[in-house]
């Protein structure tokens, strides 16, 4: 491989052709302001030679003679044809702006830019206007609903960010997220921290030809983000953006995993009567159970119990929580930027400030971002650029969520809790200990042991600060006429520091102090605060050298690039915790006896908990070499090819397994340029075809057994844990992609469209292997045992249409996106053993079915006498769950429930303009999929008090089975019984829906009024999103994109102003 690359390079370097003849020189200028125009296509109509003007508008054409004609064209300008009369002096060409000015669309892959007409690959491009149509603190969320072939997966509610899918799935278990590239290099930090106001445009690379330049990490597509830059010969412009977003309070009553107090109380009473609750002197019980105990023991009479009971039943903690713990979220965003350029210099400078007060009282986020981007033209051959980006964030996490009130106690808060007592003081919540026990300990000289969440909120201080510095330097040197050498270097430094402070009065400290208070009153655990500090630092270097060759001759155009790249990212982290910390004078305690077992309260012995201390260090390295070539003949035919070789410091693999070579080829045919083409109504029509391979890495898989070191706290010895099962036959995943595309545009730009068909064939994909427990490998510890035993075929269509329906005083533009993508497992040699099937357990892939498929068990209703779900064993209905589940071992025993992710989705975006007003709204749809509704888990209810709305509808007496499917309350946890309901077919619903994604309304002030104020343009806008689901197939009121969400994203309204000076 190395030799091949090298010889190719030598050939390229050596191939310089020398031809000289009579030459025409000239300059192209803008008619209006007499400024030179760069990148104008100048074509000799006789020789068909095509050249482009340089940055000063100059061009040179060879072999010209008097009487020949040349033609100059540039997007957004009227094309000019000129007959040559005098070749002795340079000619001047003046171009006038066309009435409908369109900017030329250039596609940027991070390695090279090319005009869209010459691109063979499948790209989706989002321009600045589209990115600014929506309002958000981050950039990625602005892509939802407006980006062709990019799907957002919101199903996993435990993640704050949705997962992204470009053209469906490419892998079974390896990461399916696209690679994110910011300013030519893969981005190492948190992309959500990048200020969206600094982004110029985004390109999504979808097929092999587009993405293969990114090689081994491009299997899932690439999102290329380019920041704003200045332009040569551009007057200085200043842009100011300011907006305020306001979101509704979260609706706590949406949460399905919450029971009404009445239902919850009934359960508690039933369990109490059955002797479910373990009573001892100290373990906390809920107030209702305490009342029942008091009643049983004769301390509370019937009337007293009834009164307490009625009070509980009338209380719903969600009402109070909504008031006390939550608020309207308020996000403010300000961004200012300057850009411009002279003949030898261009710059972009920006400053941004964001301040978000999130919907949880006490949580906030602030960001400051600064950018300095300069490019100098040292000579006509040498250009040097230097850019510095700096951002700083600060997040306060001092809020208290309703769900977090008893976190750490492994229990959910009972629904009838009060956060404030009658006088409005923080109320006590039963957490670890009974109040009778707590009262007793105060007399023994212990600290107050009560837990009052509303008081706690002021007693901790968790702040996370982050900063990022990114330095980009570049050098571009043109030589030997057609060559240029491009060297880029990026340095990135990310810092994150978190500080978690627990006040001496916080429950955590009081609890530890009390636990370790000895019989003689000695406090073994110190009374001061607890402070935890965590730091992580990432430093990344990337260096790329790239040689470009561009040549145009005789109507032909060749561009070749070859280069190599080295990247490394080193992440270091450390964490430490201090006991007995005093924030006033910065003292803490360190002299502890961690070996002695102390008697602890209420009744046990324990060593002192070790304070946190950790050190981590990781280093990822990548080396790549790449070559890319494109050839265009007479603007009609374009051929492209690319190859890349990647290596990385994968651990625990053989040397040859570290490396993967990947390639692609593509072609494009501009039918409209052919002589026979005479469809006047469709002046632009092109066909594209590409094929090639991208890759995917699962860095956690190894060829040898690997182990990870740690220190054991009991023995103090160094220990190693087996982390991976070695797979000696490990290979890289490879994804072959075929893409067929059609681009068209009708006369006067009335309709523009792109249609792509694609087929991705994932080969050597890693598939799970069910490991016999007898092998002794701890699969749950980190990684499953996986081998390259699977293939996956993903195919689909991407359609993007834009129509300018009205272009008069009332303008109307319609944009339609439609994406269809399905995947099918074409080979899978793993086990198909389904023992262990449950509602949340991922089933093994099945040959011939989609990876998104899911399955259910048949439903036979509830038993009329007991309310138990019925199961069929050997043709007999009954409740022998253990035997039933033993028979569920193949797909034949299950019911196919469809896909969990929509195969067909799209959007319909309309933009109306009338005089100074513009209105845009986006309607999206998703169809062809199903979801499983959340349902009551009695195991969660009994073990951790997690309720469910359905508790109200549970079977309670014979006859109920006629109207409900919710099983009766069991008195113990039987996971087999539970699974029979939670996996049942009746819980599956269609996910199809139509959603009003967002609305943008704007008003642009008339230029004349503004000019007096020195303002070039000004726009006021309002933007709203998360508005409404217009139609949904399910009757449950569930958002099918988030079937398990406990809270929906609130409706959001933003108001903003955009000024240009």
């Amino acid at each position: 491989m190395k030799t091949a690359l090298c010889s190719l390079l030598l050939i390229l370097v050596g191939a310089t052709i020398h031809v000289q003849s009579q030459t025409l020189t000239g300059k192209v200028l803008d008619q209006e302001n007499q400024q030179p125009l760069p990148w104008v296509t100048v074509q000799s109509l006789k020789t068909a030679e095509v050249v482009r003007t340089d940055s000063l508008g100059n061009f040179r054409l060879l072999k010209q003679a008097v009487g020949d004609s040349i033609r100059a064209s540039l997007m957004g300008y009227e094309t000019v044809t000129l007959e040559l009369t005098d070749l002795s002096k340079p000619i001047r060409l003046l171009l006038t702006k066309s009435t409908q000015a369109l900017e030329e669309v250039t596609i940027s892959t991070g390695y090279y830019s090319l005009p869209k007409e010459r691109a063979t690959g499948a790209f989706t491009q989002l321009d600045n206007e589209l990115l600014n149509r929506s309002v958000s603190t981050d950039i990625i969320s602005r892509l939802e609903g407006v980006t062709n072939s990019l799907a957002f997966d919101h199903r996993n509610t435990s993640q704050s960010q949705p997962e992204l899918r470009v053209r469906g799935l490419g892998s079974l278990y390896a990461n399916n997220s696209p690679l994110i590239v910011l300013d030519n290099f893969p981005y190492e930090g948190d992309i959500n921290n990048i200020n969206p106001n600094d982004i110029e445009n985004i390109t999504i690379l979808k097929d092999a030809a587009a993405a293969s330049i990114w090689g081994a990490r491009a299997g899932n597509g690439v999102i290329v983000i380019n920041t704003k830059k200045g332009r040569y010969q551009q007057p200085v412009s200043i842009n100011l953006v300011s907006n305020v977003q306001l979101a509704q309070r979260p609706d706590l009553f949406y949460n399905p995993n919450f029971s009404r107090s009445v239902d919850f109380l009934e359960v508690e009473r039933a369990l109490f009567e059955n002797g479910f609750y373990q009573e001892n002197d100290w373990t906390a019980l809920t107030p209702a159970v305490e009342a029942l105990i008091a009643h049983r023991d004769g301390q509370l009479d019937d009337a007293g119990l009834k009164q307490r009971w009625d009070e509980f039943a009338a209380t719903d903690v969600r009402r109070e929580a909504q008031d006390q713990l939550y608020r309207h979220a308020l996000n403010q965003q300000y961004a200012l930027n300057l850009r411009g350029g002279g003949e030898k210099y261009l710059f972009y400078t920006s400053a941004g400030f964001d301040k978000n007060l999130s919907s949880t009282v006490g949580n906030s986020f602030q960001r400051i971002s600064l950018n300095f981007n300069n490019t100098f033209k040292v000579s006509s051959a040498l250009e040097i650029s230097a850019a510095l980006a700096y951002l700083q964030t600060r997040a306060e996490n001092n809020g208290l969520e309703l769900s977090g009130i008893l976190s750490g106690a492994n229990q959910q808060l009972y629904p009838y809790a009060n956060l404030l007592d009658v006088e409005g003081n923080p109320a006590m919540i039963a957490r670890n200990y009974r109040s009778s026990y707590i009262d007793g300990t105060v007399n023994e000289g212990l600290l107050d042991w009560s837990y009052r969440p509303m008081k706690e909120r002021a007693l901790f201080d968790n702040v996370q600060r982050g900063s990022e510095a990114r330095l980009n330097t570049g050098l571009n040197y043109r030589f030997l006429k057609h060559f240029n050498l491009d060297i880029k270097y990026q340095y990135q430094r990310l810092l994150s520091r978190s500080r978690d402070y627990d006040d001496p009065d916080s429950y955590r400290v009081r609890n530890l102090v009390n636990m370790y208070t000895q019989a003689d009153g000695t406090r073994v655990f110190p009374e001061g605060a607890i402070l935890k500090l965590n730091n992580t630092e990432t430093q990344a270097h990337a260096l790329r050298g790239q040689l470009n060759y561009n040549r145009q001759f005789d109507g032909q155009e060749i561009s070749v690039l070859a280069g190599a790249e080295v990247r490394e990212a080193r992440t270091k982290g450390d964490g430490i915790e201090y006991y007995g910390y005093d924030d006033e004078v910065l003292t803490f305690q360190q002299q502890f006896d961690f070996l002695t077992r102390y008697p602890t309260r209420p009744r046990a012995t324990a060593r002192l908990p070790l304070p946190l201390a950790s050190i981590t260090e990781g280093l990822d390295r990548f080396v790549s070499a790449f070559v890319n070539a494109a050839y265009t003949y007479q603007q009609k035919y374009t051929l492209s090819a690319s190859a890349r070789w990647d290596a990385s410091n994968l651990f625990g693999v053989k040397t040859n397994q570290r490396v993967v070579p990947l390639w692609s080829v593509g072609g494009k045919w501009r039918l409209d340029k052919e002589a026979f083409y005479d469809f006047e109504s469709v002046p632009s029509l092109a066909l594209r075809v590409t094929y090639g391979y991208n890759g995917n890495i699962d860095r956690s898989m190894t060829a040898f057994n690997t182990a990870v070191y740690s220190t054991n706290t009991t023995t103090g010895l160094r220990q190693a844990s087996i982390r991976n099962v070695g797979n000696p036959n490990l290979r890289w995943e490879r994804i072959g992609t075929l893409n067929l595309g059609l681009d068209l545009e009708t006369k006067n730009g009335f309709l523009q469209g792109t249609i792509d068909y694609f087929m991705k064939n994932g080969k050597d994909l890693l598939g799970d292997v069910l490991v016999d427990p007898t092998m002794g490998y701890d699969i749950s510890f980190v990684n499953a045992f996986r081998i390259n035993n699977a293939s996956l075929r993903t195919q689909g269509f991407d359609v993007q249409l834009g129509a300018n329906l009205l272009k008069r005083q009332l303008g109307w533009r319609m944009d339609i996106l439609a994406n269809y993508v399905r995947n099918k497992v074409t080979e899978y040699n793993g086990p198909e053993n389904l023992l262990g099937f449950s509602s949340n357990y991922g089933i093994p892939p099945q040959k011939g079915k989609s990876l998104d498929a899911f399955y259910s068990t048949p439903w036979y209703g509830l038993d009329g006498q007991t309310g138990d779900p019925l199961v069929m064993v050997d043709g007999v209905l009954g409740t022998d769950y253990a035997n039933y589940w033993r028979t569920v071992d193949s797909y034949d025993d299950l019911i196919y429930s469809g896909l969990t992710f929509p195969p067909f989705s799209g959007s319909w975006r309309n933009t109306f303009s009338y005089k100074s007003w513009a209105l845009s709204f986006n309607i999206t749809f998703k169809t062809g999929y199903h979801f499983r509704q959340s349902a009551i888990s009695y195991a969660s209810l009994l073990n951790s008090r997690v309720g469910h709305r359905d508790l109200e509808y549970r079977w309670q007496q014979p006859g109920d089975e006629r109207w409900t499917n919710v099983p009766s309350l069991p008195l113990n946890v039987n996971s087999n019984r539970e699974n029979s309901y939670l996996t049942a077919e009746i819980l599956v619903h269609r996910g199809d829906h139509i959603r009003l994604q967002d609305i943008n309304l704007s008003y642009s002030f008339a230029a004349a009024e503004l000019r007096r104020l020195g303002i070039k343009s000004a726009k006021l806008f309002a933007y709203a999103n998360n508005l409404a689901i217009l139609w949904r197939a399910n009757k449950l009121g569930v958002d099918p994109d988030r079937p398990n969400a406990t809270v929906l994203p609130p409706r959001m309204l933003a108001l903003g102003l955009n000024l240009n000076f």
């Binding site: 390079l9 990822d620 651990f651 057994n705 427990p773 092998m775 033993r886």
Partner: protein
């Protein structure tokens, strides 16, 4: 052309060097492919795998040292409910990795990985001691894991039928793709006895911590296994070997029995440290000590207050040698004394047996209040064994062993609400079934439990 040549060379050398050392750096410093002696020792020092909760507790849950209230039984998980009630089915059908099965095999796998690593190292003189000790440790762990499984998943050893009785799936290597078959009971015992005999010559007398195997631990385990095989002569020999190396006993007179857990972790009696798979039904909130067993302790017996806690009339256990709530299942000198006494009694060395038992009881009773020894001596030794080794994971094996001798047979009874449960001596319910997943993946023979 010189420029072009230079650039080509530059590029070529860049690519070439890139393949080399640059990519040999580890992505995470804590990661290793276990290969050095240091790595292999660290694998065997993994306390959470090799010692803590490393032995199964099925036998304890099914044995008669304790009982559960009907309510506590009802709220337990299915696996524990089935085990407690001696049901035909034990594991949940949907459990792909029953802990009681998995943890000994995980320990065995760690040992196999260490053994395979050692095979690739040719130790020099300075490494030889470490190499030998690691080899001995790995062999001990592999034997210890297999021995634990043999007490639950196959018939008790009987020299007459052992060659025919279905034994364990033996793991001799770490290969994840090896085919798995059941051996015979004879092969199983031969396998781990062989490992232990080899380990005895390799291990130091005492490890830096009782978490590491030692020569003493090997002898103690051999004594235990030969007792189980009813080979009293060999058992006695190994018990004597073990006690010769280490015979320390804790004097219970010095314990503070008012403490929540009066007996310390890593105390002087611990030869090898291990605790068993922790289960909710074995927690002090649920486990209730059998009242007859409790009543069998003399008031002068310090174990009565050191082991048990009377929580408002509910008797529960606090005597774990792990010093906390996890139940100790390792090897201790006290057990070896009892093995020695039993073997001596069975071999008609009555004098010696009395002497051995007395030595232990001296440390267990209040000063000067040791009860006089009654006849028959063996019965008394077996009673003391039961009282001393309560909830140590030995009761199940003892039941299996003693049920073969008519005078010591015991029928176990349990009351669940209005259900009376019976486990007859030598019932095939004394042999737990293999997990369904293991049977279905390998097609191995299931243990009958009718």
């Amino acid at each position: 052309m010189t420029i072009q040549k230079w650039m080509g060379l530059c590029f070529l050398s860049f690519v070439a060097s890139a393949c080399g050392d640059y990519l040999d750096i580890k992505p995470d410093k804590r990661l290793v492919v276990p290969s050095t002696l240091k790595d292999l020792q660290a694998i065997l020092d993994n306390y959470s795998v090799m010692n803590m909760e490393s032995t199964p507790s099925l036998g304890v849950v099914a044995s008669d040292d304790y009982y559960l209230t009907y309510n506590d039984w009802q709220t337990a998980n299915l696996n524990d409910r089935n085990t407690y009630a001696w049901e035909k089915d034990v594991f949940e059908a949907t459990d792909n990795r029953p802990t009681d099965w998995f943890i000994p095999y995980r320990m065995i796998n760690y040992a196999n990985i260490a053994l395979e690593g050692l095979d690739k190292i040719a130790p020099n003189n300075s490494e030889l001691a470490a190499w030998t000790a690691i080899k001995g440790s790995a062999l001990f762990f592999r034997a210890w894991g297999h021995y634990q499984l043999a007490q639950l998943f196959c018939k008790d050893y009987d020299a007459a039928t052992a060659a025919q009785d279905a034994g364990l799936i033996l793991r001799r290597e770490s290969d994840v793709e090896a085919t798995l078959n059941r051996s015979s009971v004879q092969d199983s015992y031969d396998f781990f006895l062989h490992d232990l005999q080899e380990a005895a010559d390799l291990l130091p007398v005492r490890g830096v911590t009782p978490a590491r195997p030692s020569k003493t631990a090997v002898y103690a385990l051999l004594a235990r296994i030969y007792l189980q095989m009813r080979n009293y002569g060999l058992s006695l020999a190994y018990a004597e070997n073990a006690l010769a190396l280490r015979g320390d006993l804790l004097d219970y007179n010095t314990l503070d029995t008012s403490l929540a857990y009066p007996i310390e972790q890593f105390n002087a009696e611990v030869i090898f440290q291990a605790s068993m798979n922790y289960k909710g039904v074995l927690s002090s909130a649920k486990l209730r000590v059998d009242s007859l067993l409790y009543a069998s302790y003399d008031d002068a017996d310090l174990r009565k207050t050191a082991y048990f806690w009377d929580n408002k009339g509910v008797l529960t256990f606090k005597g774990s040698y792990d010093g906390a709530l996890r139940l100790f299942s390792g090897l201790s000198t006290s057990e070896v004394y009892l093995i020695k006494a039993e073997c001596e009694a069975r071999l008609n060395k009555e004098m010696e047996a009395r002497h051995t038992l007395q030595k232990l009881l001296l440390m267990r009773y209040r000063r000067g209040q040791i009860p006089s020894l009654v006849e028959p001596l063996l019965t008394q030794i077996l009673n003391e064994r039961r009282k001393e080794l309560v909830l140590r994971g030995l009761r199940w094996s003892d039941l299996r062993r003693l049920n073969k001798e008519e005078p010591y047979q015991k029928t176990l009874l349990r009351q669940l609400d209005n259900r009376q449960l019976v486990l007859l001596p030598n019932s095939n319910r004394y042999i737990f079934p293999f997990p369904d997943i293991v049977v279905s993946l390998n097609g191995v023979e299931q243990n009958p439990r009718d």
